[in-house]
Structure formats: structure tokens, C-alpha cells
């Protein structure tokens, strides 16, 4: 049935489609609607449990614990709340708990500008928690994609045995579009982890060997553990090399944008080629290298001061130009003038 659906609702419905049976969260704009949806849904479906936690720390810990206890679980928050969740995110990687965290980005740091959209939490998803870890993150740009990518995020979580991240922005969360969710096909990967109550296993955030014995003085055990984690994540991520590429014949300039910015600049597709990464992390190295090769100018248009641009530069070993849309300012005309300025600078 076609109806008006918001990004937040699509995310919630996508999780339910993927088999989620637990949600924990704390009210924060712009994802409070997901919490409300969960509360309503659990009223009608008692097998779906939800917790309005006392803070995001508890919400994130509850999400990971629910996963250990055997439920497909998820949580949703925005930048400041995501900062509080970092601790649990690191823990989730060590105890191998598949689950999904939704981060609908708004202008930061700290309380920032509630609730203006931003795209400035990319570094936070990668490096917010202590130590080395390799999360998988997706970023939709439409309501239908919110639905599909949430389900995909759950699948990637089961395959990588770790928390995965679904990025969105305040704009996307509150975006209403007419879609038919029931008709949208998704694949569902079943639960891959045995739940608690089998006996004698230790799920610990301390580095441990295969038996769950805590080993805190052996670099070899740590190395083996980390390479295994990385390998597992790489293999899971490889299954989802998601991107959208709109080449424009004769254009020497490639615009790279994702989420809300990719929608704003979509009307420039008659002048420039546009590349939209959907899997934000791990960075689409191979795809970026292939696509960017034939362009003289590469401009990354994003809602942060060059967070994704720096990843692109690392991936393709080449300088790129940046158009940072800061403070929630995503006006097409302004972006266009900035692009022109970038290009003028190169012809001088």
C-alpha cells in the first residue's frame, strides 16, 4: 500500500522487516519518532520489547546485551547521544554482538544547532571508541532506502558479528515520501549467534582467546583477534559495495556527495557527473579509484569540514576540492557558487 512515510518510520519498519525484536533508546531529536514507534509497536506486539533508557549509555549497552541474549536489536540517536554510545560500540566489537545503531546527524559538536542537519559524524563512527575497530556504515538518501538499508545493516551486522551503523541526517529523518514499504523487497539474514544459556562461555570486553579466557599480556593473541575481526568485517562489507554513479558525458568534474547533499545537488546532474557512496565505511576504495580516474576535478560536497573528503584523498591518493556545507546550510544556489569558485581557482 502506498502511503506517506517518514524516514524515521521507514528505518523502524526496515528493522522490523529484518527481524528486530528489541529497541532501546533515549529521546533525542531527530530520532525520537523511532522511539515512539517502538513504544507503539511493542504495545501491539508483545514479542517486541523496548526500553526507554535513562541515557544513551544505557540504551547502547541494552542494545548490545539484547543481542547477546539472542534478540536482533537496534538503537537510534543523534550526534550527542552517539557520543555517549561510543563505549558500548567498542564493547560490541569485542563481544561480537550483531546489532544496528542509527545515527541521524545534526550540527555539532555538543548540542550544536538542534535540529539542523549535518553530516559531520563520519569520523565518530570510525574512531569514536577506543582502539582499532572497523564498523560498517551505510547512508541512504531517500525514504525507501532508509527502509532497505536498515535491513541491509542488520544483515551486515549478522555477517560481521558486530554493531553496524546506519547514518542519516535530520533532514532525512523527517523527510516524508510516498512509498510502498510492504512491496519493497529485502533479504533477511537469520540470527548467526547462539544466545545465552548454553553454558560456560564468557562474553567479555577484555581481549580474550577463543575459549573466552581473558589474556591481557599477550600481543600475539591481540594481533590474531584484531586481524580476524578485520577480515570478518572486510568480507561482510565486500558483499555490499553500494554506490550510485551518474556520469555526465563530457564533464571533467565529478561531484561526490551522499545523504541529503546528494539530493540537493541532484539537479546539477546535467552539468557534472555525480558519485554517491552508500556504504560510507569501509570507504569504497576500488570503486572510487575506478570512477575518479577519468576526471580532472573532484569536488566533495558534504555537511562537514571535509571528513569524507579526507577519506577520499586517502583512498585515491590525490587531492580533492571541498565544498563544506556547514551549520545546516544546504542551499543549492550557494553550493553551486562554491563549486564555480572551486573550478575558477583551478583555471587560474
Amino acid at each position: 500500500m502506498k502511503r506517506l512515510v517518514s524516514g524515521n518510520e521507514a528505518i523502524f519498519q526496515g528493522a522490523v522487516r529484518a527481524g528486530a525484536s528489541y529497541f532501546a533508546g533515549y529521546p533525542i531529536s531527530p530520532t525520537s519518532e523511532i522511539l515512539q514507534q517502538a513504544a507503539l509497536y511493542s504495545e501491539e506486539n508483545p514479542e517486541f520489547r523496548f526500553l526507554q533508557a535513562e541515557d544513551e549509555i544505557a540504551a547502547a549497552i541494552a542494545t548490545i546485551s539484547a543481542s547477546l541474549a539472542g534478540a536482533k536489536s537496534f538503537s537510534a540517536t543523534s550526534g550527542p547521544g552517539f557520543s555517549l554510545m561510543q563505549e558500548a560500540l567498542g564493547w560490541g566489537h569485542v563481544v561480537e554482538a550483531p546489532c544496528v545503531f542509527v545515527n541521524s546527524m545534526r550540527v555539532g559538536p555538543s548540542t550544536g544547532m538542534p535540529t539542523q542537519p549535518a553530516q559531520s559524524d563520519l569520523l565518530q563512527i570510525k574512531a569514536g571508541s577506543a582502539g582499532d575497530y572497523y564498523p560498517i556504515a551505510f547512508y541512504p538518501n531517500s525514504v525507501r532506502e532508509c527502509f532497505q538499508l536498515t535491513a541491509i545493516a542488520f544483515n551486515a551486522a549478522e555477517e560481521s558479528l558486530s554493531p553496524t551503523i546506519l547514518l542519516a541526517d535530520a533532514f532525512l529523518s523527517h523527510l516524508y515520501e510516498i512509498v510502498d514499504l510492504e512491496d519493497t523487497a529485502t533479504e533477511v539474514v537469520p540470527r548467526s549467534k547462539e544466545s545465552l544459556g548454553r553454558g560456560q562461555r564468557l562474553f567479555t570486553g577484555t581481549v580474550h582467546d577463543k575459549m573466552g579466557n581473558v589474556k591481557t599480556n599477550d600481543p600475539e593473541i591481540y594481533r590474531r583477534w584484531l586481524w580476524e575481526l578485520k577480515d570478518r568485517h572486510d568480507r561482510a562489507a565486500e558483499k555490499y559495495p553500494l554506490f550510485e554513479y551518474l556520469p555526465r558525458k563530457g564533464s571533467e568534474t565529478l561531484l561526490i556527495a551522499f545523504g541529503i547533499t546528494s539530493r540537493v545537488i541532484s539537479s546539477l546532474k546535467d552539468r557534472f557527473s555525480i558519485f554517491r557512496p552508500i556504504r560510507i565505511y569501509p570507504v569504497l576504495e576500488k570503486e572510487l579509484n575506478e570512477v575518479t580516474r577519468s576526471y580532472r576535478h573532484i569536488i566533495v560536497v558534504e555537511g562537514s569540514d571535509g571528513q569524507y573528503a579526507s577519506w577520499v584523498e586517502c583512498a585515491i591518493c590525490r587531492k580533492v576540492m571541498r565544498v563544506p556545507c556547514l551549520g545546516g546550510g544546504f542551499k543549492l544556489r550557494w553550493i553551486q557558487s562554491q563549486i564555480e569558485e572551486c573550478l575558477r581557482g583551478t583555471t587560474k
Binding site: 525484536s21 528489541y22 532501546a24 520489547r49 526500553l51 533508557a53 535513562e54 541515557d55 549509555i57 544505557a58 549497552i61 541494552a62 548490545i64 546485551s65 539484547a66 547477546l68 541474549a69 539472542g70 534478540a71 563505549e87 558500548a88 567498542g90 564493547w91 563481544v95 544466545s195 545465552l196 544459556g197 548454553r198 553454558g199 560456560q200 562461555r201 564468557l202 562474553f203 567479555t204 570486553g205 577484555t206 573466552g212 579466557n213 581473558v214
Partner: protein, 344 residues
Amino acid sequence: MDRSYKDLLKLRRFPHTWCPGCGIGAVLKNVAMAVKELGWSDKNTVAVSGIGCSGRMSGYMNLDAVHTPHGRVLTSAETIKTIRPDLNVIVLSGDGDLTSIGGNHLLHTSRRNPDITVFCNDNEIYGLTGGQAGPTTPRGTKTITSPRGEPYSPLRLGHLLTQQAPYFYARTTVYHLNHFKKCIHEALVWKGFSFVDIVSDCIELNGRRLGFKTAHQMFKWFDERFHIVEGERDHLGENELGIARAVEEEVVPPAEKVEEKPEIPMASLKPFTLEELHRFDGTGGKPIYIAYKGKVYDLSSSPLFQGEKRMRCHIAGKDLTKDIDVAPHGEDLVFKFPAVGRLV
């Protein structure tokens, strides 16, 4: 003597990691004994612990165990119980983990009252990190972060956890063994959130600075400081060991009054003009009338007017239609009173 509790311990990892004479070993052993006595096994029991010396307890139990980040043990235990109500969830942690960094979770998890049992190894110090003062350190105690004596009063866990029924709060020590065992057993069988505050010794990083030479000397000190109180208690005093518990206060839902007031036809009501109405302002023993949406109501019985001409911003003898529309309360407050006339 029944020693079957050893099945619940990972003896291959013994001797355990704690210092000689540490009370955590006693907590681990006695909890294992009580769990075994109840016939619980690794198939239906999960141990959850936090960070710190006492956080290592779950790793020594032959149960599925979850070792959470610092302070988050209660949230984790609660969620596991939510998802798997068939599992018995026991929490093995320390005072720093549960009451300091996890203090917020303690407040809220106890409020939500999940059926989990918490064993708090309360050694009044941060042991693992070298003996810093914590929220349970008694006032005046000299530690490495309070060289002149801890300046603040300790957290009164008993008061904190017994403010809202239902609750189960037991205080015991590792020295009062029989009492200790009884508290563990009672807490495990309690339906709901139960908290056992086990006063325990940290001889190496606290006791020695306090002047004790052996763990046993600290035990003697516990014996001097605390005394056991028997029977059902609502609260425990500062130095009392015992169990304070209360079942849920029965919440009687307010009976919904369905008052069926017969609709009085407007025409049959006595007509009032505004001037006439104005006279009924309660002065000189006259009744208090007000008008609302064209009807006149008798507010004489209102406890709020109490014979006064004015009740807060409402003035007797006036048409209050506009007042009530902007008032924070609804018009139902007016309808409680009898209608005596109509405004013309």
C-alpha cells in the same frame, strides 16, 4: 559438607586473581554455593559483572557470563532478563562499579524492578586501581586520593534503594558467614530487584593503610562495627546488618465516577441578568454564583472560594467563560457544580 558448588567454578583457572585474604573470593564461593543449593545450572543461569576486581567474578563461574564495560552491568543484566525471562540473572560487581560510575543505572534499574539479583562487593575503596576513595568510603578515611581523610559522607545505599516499594536491600559482611549465606539465598529467591550489599575487606589496598595487618583483623573490625538485626525491617540503620524488604504497594486505581447528570433544558432555568448575577458574590452570606457559557452555576460548596469573593483570579458573581477558556484546568471543574440559572 557439600562441596558440589565447585562444579560452578572454573577451577582450572584457580588460584584466582585476587590478593591474599580478599573478600571477593568469599563472595564468589558463597554465591556459587547458594546457586548450587537452589539447583540452578549453567543452562538457566547467567552471571553478569562489571569492571574492577569484583568484575572478574563472572569469569570464574562455570556459567554463561557477560563482562560489561565499567558501570553498565545493571542495564545489561536487566536487558538479558527482558529478552530471556527464563534465565536467572545474577549480577556480581563492586561498589565503585555499581554506585559510582553506574549510579544512574542503579537508580533507574531498581526503579524498573527487573527480576535480577545484585551482589555488591562493598569494600569501600577502589581496589583495582590502587586504593582511591570511592562513594562508599567512610568519611575521614585516609586513602591515596584523600590524604587528609575523605571529606564527604558516603552514599547511603540502604536509604537510596528503599525509598520506593517494592525493594529488597540486604546488608551483610563476609565475616558474618551464616547471615551472609542467608542474605544471598533470600535475595536469589526474591522476585524482583534484590540488592545485597556485602561489606567486604580489601586488605592490601585499604586495610593496610587503615592499620590492619591481616584480613582477619579487618573481620574483627567488621564485627565491632556492625551488628545483626533480626526480623522483617523497613530500613537498616547505619551499622545494622539485615534484610529490609517490602512488597509492592498496591496501587488502587481511582474509581472513575460516572455521574450522569440529567440535562436540564435551558429554558426551564431561572433567567439572570449580569447585574443580578453580580449580587451573588458570596458577600453577606449570599451564595456564590458564576456564569459559564450562558449557564449560571452555584459554587457555594467549592472549598476553594471559602466564602471569599475571589478565588485566585476568578471573581464571584461574574461571567467566567473567558477566564476558564484560558485557565490551565478544564471546564469539568465548573460542571461539578449545580446549574441554577441561565444568563440573559
